[in-house]
């Protein structure tokens, strides 16, 4: 084991944290934080938010390199200077996994980059990923007190800087592992949720194996989120850091086909299973012409380009056939990823159609801005009614209808209502449907007794426990649609309940040994 004594001690302190639910802030009664930033609060409030360098829009639409270059050391430290070191850090409570934001900012300010990233990783093992794709503007940064007057702190960009600094300087050392508990856990799916469960449980002393259906680990981080938002090398590095904890990853294994959950729990001897398979099945519009050539689901487009590297065709064998004019349907993050990916494949025109107005769009604002900068044409209050094809079965036009907004629906979003007689035609040779995903049913169908909702999601309680003992689930497969950080938060919650469940099993097996079942040196 590589950890030194000091790290060991820290890990020891971490244990009660692992038991506490995320939503309760254990720190609210904690002793007052020491202030370390030298500037007076007034001076701090004078510093404007730092902006990262970004690739110029005209340039970036010709490549798949990352849009944002992140902060350099100077910017990161200058940004840390803006923190008010609030006594009751609301940012930390707003974070779904309660990263101790003020603490890592202080460490960053003091130049202890290794300490700062270690601090983040205590609560979130995937900072290089979350620093890039978390919707901070709705979470920590949205609650930042500085933001009441000025722009909030760029918390995400500082997190990303620390993660990247660690990777580039090669200073990562795996956190110390607790003594082996002699029990093993199977994790299904290697997306953000699965990786988090694996990392957490491995640190607690469990023997963890992740099963991944695709040929590479990373799940949606690999096949879904584009290279220009989250470089695949970053994902690979984060996966390596999970493996550094002793986690095994078996690719090309489809649970529900190659193996079943009951085999994992039975003959394979896993004590518990976590299902984090995501929301794998693309939804379609149910309009005529949807199966024409040139009509793709966003998942197909993104998987081809991201996982299979179609943007490097013919160096990579998988092609993506994009025409002169691409129309993407939808208004969420996936639609934004699909439209910006399409743009980079070089069509003359790239459009996005959304049936509500800009205000109702569920996509991250930052990504909408990026898309606009890149020359994507947005058409709001526009809904497709049919797709028309040519004599070869290739799409040639999409028939649309104008909408107006009516009463709010159960989620509070105003319902789009078609305007009579408003239909019109947009000529196009490529259509990408990005209107959402439903849960993949393979596991539900092959696991008797696993309760599901009428939407096909797996039913779980607050602790991510399913209707069957020993089986836990989280992320999209139980929520229907979630963000990366929600999947991470579920993963943390689930790892605590899996730990509790397995502790009980140990107790039943050999009473009095729940704490130290076996030694493995």
């Amino acid at each position: 084991m590589s950890g030194n004594g000091q790290q060991k001690k820290e890990a020891g302190n971490k244990v009660p944290d692992n038991k506490a639910p995320d939503s309760k802030a254990p720190d609210s009664k904690a002793p007052k934080r020491q202030k370390v930033i030298a500037l007076k609060p007034k001076e701090r409030m004078k510093i404007p938010r730092h902006l990262p360098n970004e690739q110029d829009p005209t340039e970036r639409i010709t490549n798949f390199c990352e849009v944002s270059n992140g902060f350099d050391i100077d910017k990161a430290i200058a940004e840390a200077n803006r923190c008010l070191e609030c006594n009751d850090p609301v940012c930390m409570h707003a974070c779904p996994v309660n990263v101790d934001i003020p603490a890592f900012i202080q460490l960053l300010y003091q130049g202890d980059y290794a300490g700062a990233i270690r601090k983040i990783r205590e609560s979130n093992y995937l900072p290089a990923i979350c620093g890039r794709v978390c919707p901070q503007e709705n979470l920590c940064e949205n609650s930042c007190i500085v933001g009441k007057k000025l722009e909030p702190l760029a918390i995400g960009k500082m997190e990303r800087f620390l993660a990247d600094y660690e990777a580039r300087s090669g200073t990562f050392t795996p956190p110390p592992l607790a003594e082996s508990k002699g029990q093993s856990v199977a994790v299904v799916g290697s997306g953000p949720g699965g990786l988090t469960v694996a990392a957490e449980l491995a640190q607690m002393g469990y023997d963890v194996t992740i099963f991944e259906a695709l040929h590479e680990a990373g799940g949606v981080l690999k096949y879904g989120i584009p290279e220009f938002r989250l470089p695949k090398q970053i994902v690979d590095e984060e996966v390596e850091r999970v493996k550094a904890l002793g986690v095994k990853i078996e690719t090309n294994v489809i649970i529900g086909r190659t193996l079943t959950i009951d085999e994992l729990l039975g003959e394979m001897g896993f004590g518990a299973v976590y299902i984090g398979t995501g929301a794998g099945s693309p939804r379609f519009l149910n309009v005529p012409g949807e199966n024409l050539s040139g009509v793709y689901s966003a998942s197909e487009l993104l998987t081809r380009v991201n996982l299979m590297k179609a943007y490097k065709f013919p160096e990579f064998d998988t092609p993506m056939q994009i025409g002169n004019k691409v129309v993407v349907l939808g208004g969420g993050d996936v639609a934004m990823d699909a439209v910006r990916t399409s743009k980079r494949l070089g069509p003359e025109q790239t459009l996005l159609l959304y049936r509500r107005s800009r205000e109702e769009m569920p996509a991250r604002i930052e990504e909408v801005h990026h898309a606009e900068e890149e020359g994507i044409e947005f058409h709001f209050l526009t809904s497709p009614v049919a797709i028309h094809g040519d004599e070869n079965g290739w799409v040639k036009a999409i028939e649309c209808q104008k909408m107006e907004l009516g009463e709010p629906d159960e989620k509070g979003r105003r319902r789009p209502i078609p305007i009579e007689g408003s239909s019109f035609i947009i000529e196009t040779d490529t259509v990408v449907v990005a209107i959402g995903q439903s849960p993949n049913p393979i596991i539900q169908q092959t696991t008797p007794g696993l309760e599901t909702t009428k939407w096909g999601t797996i039913v779980v309680d607050d602790d991510c426990a399913t209707s069957r003992p020993g089986i836990f689930a989280g992320g999209d497969i139980s929520r229907g649609g979630a963000t990366v950080i929600q999947a991470v938060a579920d993963g943390k919650r689930a790892s605590r309940s899996i730990d509790a469940y397995l502790a009980k099993l140990r107790e039943e097996l050999v009473p009095g040994t729940a704490k130290n079942h076996s030694k493995q040196e």
């Binding site: 590297k309 013919p314 993949n440």
Partner: protein, 283 residues
């Protein structure tokens, strides 16, 4: 990585590969397929599992060299490795004792119909098999098919082997000569399966076909494999690959399968030219 235990050339462009894949071999049922990605930069393509040996932990696939990926696979030797093999995928073939069943294999589709004919025979059916190819050289698995069939008819387009004509002619003959079979399974090129469906539609003979749309993940994740069956959208990789032939929209699928024809042609010719110029280095 998945080791190739054995290779055998069945016809000039058709190769049989026995591959080590113990977990898949254990679970595989007739009609299942795998997704194979031969190399680190390769494409994922679906291939039917022709046979499996759970004890030895091996599966058999039969590949016809058509594009770049299939050429790479058929060019692989014993002891080499396929980068990725995942499965078993798809719903197994509905097999029961129907009575008399006609199994039709066209071209390399014979490799796919073979395990089904075998399973149907084992289930107690009287199996009449028809295998068709363009010419004598391309007829594959004749002995194997004969072994699992009560009657075997071979047809070639040019008459160089067996009967001259198409598999549908032979099927028609059976229907008129021996009466309506209880079920028909047809696997081959899409136009052939469409023609079979047209023959059996009127006499209302239950007919299954195995569809081969473009696939990527094989788990219902991308929708590339969607087909219209009975006016409903189905994902062939999870809902199929076998469907009621009379419900399938073949024309749509034929058009969809041409989606990547352009880039595939490009990839193949670039690859071919490259191997031709570098071939000498291997000597």
């Amino acid at each position: 990585m998945y080791r190739i235990i054995q290779t055998e050339t069945l016809a000039p462009t058709i190769t049989k590969l026995t591959v080590e894949a113990p977990l898949i071999a254990r679970k595989r049922k007739a009609g299942n397929f795998v997704i194979v990605r031969p190399t680190p930069t390769g494409e994922r393509i679906p291939l039917t599992i022709v046979d499996s040996d759970p004890d030895k932990g091996t599966i058999v696939i039969i590949v016809q060299a058509i594009g770049k990926t299939t050429h790479i696979i058929t060019g692989m030797k014993e002891g080499e490795y396929l980068m990725d093999v995942v499965g078993p995928l798809g719903e197994p073939t509905p097999v029961s004792d129907f009575g008399t069943v006609v199994c039709i294999g066209g071209g390399v589709g014979t490799a796919v119909i073979y395990p089904i004919a075998k399973a149907l025979k084992e289930a107690g059916n009287r199996v009449i098999s028809i295998i068709g190819a363009r010419n004598r050289e391309l007829v594959i698995l004749e002995d194997e098919m004969a072994a699992v069939s009560d009657e075997l008819i071979v047809t070639t387009d040019d008459g160089s082997h067996g009967k001259k004509g198409f598999v549908t002619d032979a099927l028609q003959e059976i229907i008129t000569g021996q009466g309506k079979p209880d079920a028909v399974y047809a696997i081959g090129p899409l136009p052939m399966m469409r023609a079979v469906a047209n023959v059996t539609r009127e006499p209302e003979i239950r007919t299954w076909v195995s569809l081969n749309p473009i696939m990527m993940d094989g788990t219902g994740m991308c929708g590339a494999c969607r087909v219209t069956v009975g006016n409903e959208m189905k994902f062939a990789c999870v809902d199929g690959p076998e469907f009621d032939a009379h419900e399938v929209n073949f024309d749509e699928l034929i058009a969809r399968n041409r989606t990547y024809a352009g880039p595939e042609q490009e990839a193949f010719s670039t690859w071919k030219n490259r191997t031709e110029t570098t071939d000498c280095k291997h000597l």
